[in-house]
Structures are given as C-alpha cells and as structure tokens.
C-alpha cells in the first residue's frame, strides 16, 4: 500500500520535474505524452488504492517525520480511506481527461511554455493529492497552499498580460487570508491537543478535551480557510477573476478540484463541526448566501467563462449549505457530480473559445450547434446536469442537499430552490445564446469555425457520459437506490442521519425543484434562442451585471485605505518620525559641538576666569551648600 500511495503522489511530481526541468529539451509531443501519462498512471494507482480501501478499509502509511522535536511531532503520513479514495479518483480521473484535453487546447503555445503549462498542471495534481491524502492537518495544509500556488501560477500563465497577473495575485492573496484562518485553527489544535493527526484529533477523548469555545473557534477558523479556498462570501471574488487562466485550468482547478478542497476539509473534520451548532449555522448561511449571490450575478454575465465561474461559486455555496445542514455525504456527492459536469461545461466552453479564436463574449456567438456538434451535445448534457433535471447526475446530488436543508430549516430549502431555478435559467441562457439562433460573430471567425480535435472531444464525451450517469452512485432509497456513496462515506461521516422527512414530502420536494428547473430552462431557451442579452438597462440588471459592485466595494473600503496607510507609514512615519529621531540625535550633537567650541574663545583671561569659577564650583559641589549657608549665618550672628 505504501508503494501504491507513493506512486499516486509521486507520478505527478515526477511529471512536474520532468517537464519543468526539461522544458527546453523535449518536444511538445513528448511533453504531452509524459504529462498525461503520469496522471493516468496516478489514476490507475488510485484505482488500485480505491479497490484496496474497498477490501481492507482505511490505510495510513508513514513515510518520514516532517517535524520531530522533543515536544512536538508532525509525521509525514498519508492516508487513504473512503473519502480520500473517492477524491483521488475524481482528481486523477478528471485530471487525466483535462490533461488530455490540454494537449490539444494548448497546441499553439511555444514548446517551452507548453512544457511549463504541463509542469504546473502536474504540480497541481501533486498538491491536490497531498491535500486529500495527508493524514494530518499540516500535511493537508501543505497541499492546501500548494494548490493555491499552482492556481496562482496557472492563472498568471500568460504572464505578459498585466490583468491576468492581477487576477493571479488576487487569487493567491485571498487564498492566503483563508489560509491564515486555517493556520490559526491548526495552532489552536496544537495548543490544546498537541497533535494534528486526524487519528488523534478525531477521537472522543480529544473532543472532550476541547471546550465549546475551542471547538467553535477552531471550526470557525477552519471555515475561514475553506471560505478562501472554496470561494465563499466574503472571499469569493478571486474565483471569477481566476478565469484569466487557460480554460482547461479553469475546468480542473477552479471548478472540479481545488475549490472543493474546502468541502473536503470540512467533511474531514466534521466531528468538530458537528459539535458546534453555531459554526454549522454559519456555514449554512454563508453557503446559501453564496449560492444565491453567485446565481444572481451569473444571470447577467456575458462572458462564457464568467457565467460558469459564478455558477461554480453558486454550486460551491450549495455544497456548503449541505455541510452546514449536516449532509456531509450529500456535499461530497455534489462535489463529485459537480466535478464532472462543471469540468465538462468548462471544457465545452474551452472548445467553443478554441473554435472562436479566443472569443469569450457570448453575444458574439450563436448558432454554433451545427458547427460544433459534439461540443454542443456534451455541453447540453452538462447544462441539464447542472440544472438538476433528472435523471442526470446533478439532480440527485442537489436533491440530497435540498432535502437535508428542508429538514433543517425550510427557509434554506426555499432559498436553495430559488437558486436552483436561477441556475437552470442562466445555464440555459448561456446554452441558448451560444449554440442556438444564428451566428453573430465576424465572418472570419465564421469561416474558421470547426469542431475541435479528438483529444478535446474525447474528454468531453467521457465527461458527458459521467455527468449523465454519475447520479447512479447516490440514488436515494426512496427511488429504490442504495445510496452507494452514503454507505461509502459512512465510515467517515457516520451513517446518514435518519431523515425525519416522510417519503411524500421528499417526493414533493423533488417534484418542486424539478418543475422549477424545467420551467426556468424552457423560459431561458425561449427568451435567448434568437437574440443575445444586450447591455442591461434596469437598475437591478446593472447591479447584477456589475456583480453587486463587490469588487469596487472591497477596493474602496479595504484595499485603498490599506494602501494609503502603508504609504503613510513609508513616507511619514518612517522618514520623519523614526529616521528623523535618529538623524535628529546626530544633528543635536553637531549643533552642540558648534556651540560648545565657542567657549574656547582664544583669550587666556577668559580661560583662567573659567578655571577659577570651576574651582569655586568644585568647592561648592564638594562641601555642599549647607556649609556656605552656615557661614553666612555665622557672619550675621
């Protein structure tokens, strides 16, 4: 097992080093084969690992001690259990597909850039694997920051473009804010328990050692970490900007894998979370708010990737809602299905962009249905899946969350279903504007429109199939399923709670959401099949188009004041106060030197006068004043 897990992790690393170091030597072909091959190898190893876990249960292997001091020990342990093995499959599986896709998508790049791209991608896979495989919080944190870094590198992949760089920087810094929360949580754990290993933290005794405050604080801080990585309010603004990166990157990192790290982490530490009512509520509230916020903004976006990005934000919100209401397996289920269909959508979008020569504005598309048949079909499947229309996968996973939300609080459910309707609407708005109607682009673009090569369509097809059928792993019991994924995860999160909902209500809920989604779809298709959405005219439309002005709000309220403060420190405090004090001392010495030397006026008479007075002064100092007073007193007497 040690070897298998090692392989899983090491292959992408080897790929990174191979491509990174040899980027000037290898041809694109070699790079492509190697990079993809390593991930596929990793995928195969993951399957082995998965099977092993199925047979033997969770396995933890020890490699070396990362930190080992007298008082404190952090081993470099990796662990495969039901949760991580699922994630492994998704990461390496979707990862392989996206690698494959990228080989064609990035063809125009120069060969060294091409290698650089793949090395980053491999590094990302490596980090992500570390994140999910780590057997303690610190190892997880290593991966956690690692994926942040890769995200940074990939967003800024086209580094000559300043805007992309800003986007990359923003992503990294926002992630860092979250990471700070995560770090503090780790410190808190260490301070209280002295360990960060899952096996030692998640025990009844450990939990008992922690006071309620501790647990609340730790979970809140962990959640802050998750907010950053999984783009929740208030740290979500980086994710839409992150679309600056190449589209496959968006698919892999900013949709399928990295952003779900927060969900993974919270699921991992669900024991803590379930001990803190407050945090759970907060998670749920933030989740649903994010879901709605993302959905509303997505309604009015015209950039094909932006729509998908906000849709991701929104979907992540759902997952957090699921976590907040205790539907851990539901959340994980949604992660998996979301990985499939969102990757599919992004790759589809990539295919469109590829065909349109890097045009991303949907207003300039339309009628692509006939020109890009495979893309169109797969994209449609993705849309249906995300809209939550049965029997496609999205329906099942979303439904599980909705049901749990309803059980917790119907308001959650109501808001969620609203969001779900919006999801259906904007997805089909996107679909309709892009693929239906007639082409609105330039003739030149029209001339060059073509279906993408096999390397790109193959992943689309695979993902489309998965999107369509992945729901099968979580068919709820009322539909006669076994809810395989729930059973899988029961070893981690415990058996799914007995729902208090009757079957009738469950059916009703499903029905409602399906109906709403369907209605929204049809409405959207109807509305946008002929014409695109122009510039928004209504105030609300403008507000949504400008993303609720959140970026501007952050800019004026946080970024600018901080920047000004830094400037104030640099130009005023540092120069005038601190350095001024140091230099001032020097000036005082100089000044007194100038004054003191005037005593030395060159005249002997003065010198002797000074001497006599000095002697007098010495005498006075010596005998102190009382004696002199006594003398004068005696004179009077």
């Amino acid at each position: 097992m040690k070897v298998i897990i090692g392989f899983i992790v090491l292959w992408p690393l080897v790929g990174f080093l191979f491509n990174g170091l040899g980027r000037h030597f290898w041809s694109k072909k070699v790079v492509a084969y190697k990079a993809t091959g390593y991930v596929v190898a990793s995928f195969i190893a993951s399957i082995f690992a998965f099977v092993q876990v199925q047979n033997q249960g969770a396995v933890s292997v020890h490699y070396f001690d990362f930190i080992n001091t007298a008082h404190f020990k952090i081993p470099f342990d990796l662990k495969v259990d039901a949760l991580s093995s699922l994630f492994l499959l998704v990461i390496t599986g979707v990862g392989s597909l996206i690698h494959l896709y990228s080989t064609a998508y990035m063809k125009q790049e120069s060969s060294s850039d091409y290698a650089r791209y793949f090395s980053y991608l491999n590094l990302f896979i490596f980090s992500m694997l570390i994140l999910v495989l780590g057997d303690n919080f610190v190892i997880m944190f290593i991966g956690w920051e690692g994926v942040g870094l890769c995200s940074y590198l990939l967003i800024g992949y086209w580094f000559t473009n300043t805007h992309f760089n800003y986007a990359a920087k923003k992503a990294f810094i926002m992630n860092r804010i979250g990471d700070l929360g995560f770090l503090l949580a780790i410190f808190w754990l260490i301070a209280k328990l002295g360990t960060v290993s899952y096996s030692e933290v998640f025990t009844a005794e450990s939990i008992a050692k922690l006071s309620t405050t501790d647990i609340t604080a730790i979970t809140l801080l962990l959640f802050v970490g998750a907010m950053g990585k999984s783009a929740q309010i208030p740290l979500y603004t980086w994710l839409p900007d992150a679309m600056a990166g190449p589209t496959p990157v968006s698919a892999l990192i900013h949709a399928a894998t990295m952003v779900t790290a927060g969900i993974y982490m919270i699921t991992r530490s669900h024991l803590l979370f379930s001990h803190s009512e407050m945090t759970q509520n907060l998670v749920a509230v933030i989740g649903i708010s994010t879901a709605l916020l993302g959905a509303t903004i997505a309604l009015k976006q015209n950039d094909i990737k932006k729509v998908l990005a906000y849709s991701t934000v929104s979907q992540l919100g759902y997952m957090f809602l699921g976590l907040g209401v205790g539907a851990y397996s539901g959340a994980v289920f949604h992660v998996i299905t979301h990985a499939f269909f969102k990757a599919l959508l992004f790759l589809g979008a990539g295919s469109v962009i590829h065909a349109m020569h890097h045009e991303q504005d949907i207003q300039k598309m339309g009628g692509l249905k006939s020109k890009l048949p495979i893309t169109h079909l797969t994209f449609l499947i993705g849309c249906i899946a995300i809209a939550g229309i049965p029997p496609f996968s999205g329906f099942f996973s979303k439904d599980e969350i909705l049901a749990a939300a309803y059980a917790k609080n119907p308001v959650y459910w109501f808001l969620a279903i609203l969001g779900s309707a919006m999801t259906a609407f904007y997805m089909f708005r996107l679909y309709a504007t892009t693929f239906l109607g007639k082409f609105r682009g330039t003739t030149e673009q029209d001339h060059h429109l073509h279906e993408s090569p096999l390397a790109m369509t193959l992943p689309l097809i695979v993902l489309a199939v998965l999107s369509a059928i992945a729901g099968a792993i979580g068919i709820p019991e009322i539909m006669g399923g076994h809810h395989w994924i729930g059973q899988q995860l029961s070893s981690i999160v415990g058996a799914a709670k007995e729902t208090t909902l009757t079957h009738t209500i469950e059916w009703a809920l499903m029905g409602t959401s399906t109906m709403l989604a369907l209605l929204a779809c049809l409405f959207a298709i109807n509305k946008y099949r002929q014409k695109a959405d122009g510039e928004p005219t209504t105030p609300l439309g403008k507000l949504l188009f400008h993303k609720w002005y959140v970026d501007e709000f952050y800019d004026t309220l946080i970024v600018k004041p901080l920047n000004n403060f830094a400037g104030f420190l640099k130009n005023s405090i540092e120069k005038k106060v601190i350095d001024g004090a140091v230099n001032g001392t020097g000036k005082i010495v100089q000044y007194s030197a100038r004054q003191l030397r005037l005593i030395q006026n060159g005249q002997v008479g003065y010198y002797i006068l000074f001497m006599v007075f000095s002697i007098v002064l010495l005498l006075i100092l010596w005998f102190n004043d009382t004696i002199i007073l006594r003398f004068y007193y005696s004179l009077i007497k």
């Binding site: 008479g605 006068l609 006599v612 007098v616 005498l619 005998f623 004696i627 006594r630 003398f631 005696s634």
Partner: protein, 166 residues
Amino acid sequence: MSILQILFFALSAFAIVSAIMVLISKNPIHSVLWLILVFFAISGHYILLNAQFLAIVNIIVYAGAIMVLFLFVIMLINIKKDSEPQKQFLVKLLGVLAGGSFLTLLVALIKQTAQIEGRQLLMKDGVIGLIHPLGKVLFTDYVIPFEISSVLFLSAMVGAVIIGKK
C-alpha cells in the same frame, strides 16, 4: 595689644594695600615697585616669625633678583605708560567677583575647620628659621629634592638659551 600684634597688623595692612596697588597701577613699572613693597612686607612677616633665613633670601632673591629682572624686561621692551589696553569693565568685574568668591569660599571653609581651632603660632621664638638648622636639614633630609631641583635649573637654562637665542 602687644607689639607683635601691632606689627602684624601694620605689616599685613601694608602688604594688602601694596598688593592692591600692584593691581591698580596702570604703569607696569609702578606695579613692579609696589610688588617689591609687598615682598618687603612679607619679609617683615618672616622676621616676625623668626624665619630669618627666608626673610633674607626673600629680599635677595625676590625683591633683589627676580623683581629687578622684571623691571629690566619692562625697561627693555619699553612699554609706554598708558599703552596697556584695559580690559572691559565687565571682565574686570567678573575677575574681581571670581577672586572675591574664591576668597570668601576659602575663608568660609577655614572658619569652620575644626582642625585648626584655637591653634596658636609661635612668633619670634624657635630656631627652625635660622640658617644652621635649615642648612642641616637641606643637606640631609632634603638632599634629594635639592639635587633634583638642579635638573630644573638645567632645563630652565637650556630653555632660556633655546628661547632667547636669536
């Protein structure tokens, strides 16, 4: 008031007045002459104290040799009577103030010194001021300083040669 006391006070007054005159004479030659008078007064005191040897030496060395040397130099460089520029009044005042406070302070201290409370000094009597005991001591106990002061003279001689030679 015994005759000794009368002599003491007379000589003291004479010495002090002469000393002050040294200060206030504008003409350096007058200063020299007044100073010689001070030395005479001091010699008088020596005689009062029966320090005959010193009295004589004082007259011979100080009044006789040193002051004549001064006089000689003054004559040599021929300073006109009123050519000496005066110090500013303020400076003079400060000078007097300094001297005065110096005196006051020391007197204040002496006045309170218990060490010499009620000590009398021997006037007129005693042999130590005579030439015989002095000579004896000088060439026995004090022969080392005596010899070493020759070095002082040698160096003064060399110095005078260095400085004085054209």
